[in-house]
Symmetry: C2
Subunit: 139 residues, 2 copies
DNA sequence: CTAAACTTTGCAATCGCATTGCATCCTTAT
DNA sequence: ATAAGGATGCAATGCGATTGCAAAGTTTAG
């Protein structure tokens, strides 16, 4: 498992430090996208800025993608192994207005979405908001 | 025209003060969505917080809708007269990565978008980013 | 017409998240 | 071993959003 994580970092050309392995581990264990605050909550002793920069590094190397779910805080989720953050890799995200979780809808690819032909499209961000499965069952 | 603006406010049950008429006028003259900063730039003497609250009031009464285009600052655009911000009124937005303009793609309705059936959908935010028509012509 | 009640506006201040600068520590290459 | 480069920690700042409070303006009951 440790080895596995290390290989993941190496495959993205990210130097595998202890901190990065821990952050990657956290991200891979999480069902939902994590904000910097979320991440900080998982590490009593880690510095906020270090976590911030770790996420930035991951993002630059396309290990994670950022999600703007409108809560004010950016969230990050692991990319799939094959992901290159190219148009065909883009997918929708769901944000629960109740539990505030945000997760990837990996099956909702955005590459086939029709776009206005008078614009040069570079990225697409689709966030669906509502109640997640769990929260819609509980009343 | 003044009358017209006043009627618009009244139809949304917003008390038409001088400030609100001016802000509405600004919004209706603008091709693109405006941030609080944008708005502030148009009024030398207006207080930022008053503009902020004016937008909040407009939003509450569904005169404007907010757009999260990922630039960090919320933007606001006028709703159409018939808009009630219900699912069938939702449309996509385009954000130009060059000139930073954001505008409504009113023809891109989101109501017919298929959504995951294990979630209760309340809102959808679709932001397409790239180069707008103008900026893609200029090299 | 006037006083009370409510709304709107302006100013000061605060909060939260993102981001940067800089010094220190650690790792790597020579 | 040593210099060079990268990673980390701490302090500080920037910026947008938001709130509290008092002054000014508006509406309404009497």
């Amino acid at each position: 498992m440790q080895d596995n994580l290390e290989e993941i970092l190496l495959s993205r050309k990210i130097h595998p430090t202890a901190m990065r392995l821990l952050v990657l581990d956290e991200l891979s264990k999480s069902e939902s996208a994590l904000s910097l605050n979320d991440l900080e909550g998982h590490f009593e002793r880690a510095d906020r800025v270090t976590l911030y920069r770790t996420l930035k590094t991951f993002e630059k190397h396309k290990l994670v993608h950022r999600i703007e779910d409108g809560t004010g805080a950016l969230k990050y989720a692991l990319c799939e192994a094959s992901c290159d953050c190219a148009p065909q890799d883009l997918h929708a995200h769901f944000h629960c207005n109740k539990c505030q979780s945000t997760f990837c809808l990996k099956d909702y690819h955005l590459s086939q979405m029709k776009t206005p032909n008078n614009f040069q499209v570079e990225e697409i961000s689709l966030v669906i908001k509502g109640l997640c499965e769990q929260c819609s069952h509980v009343n």
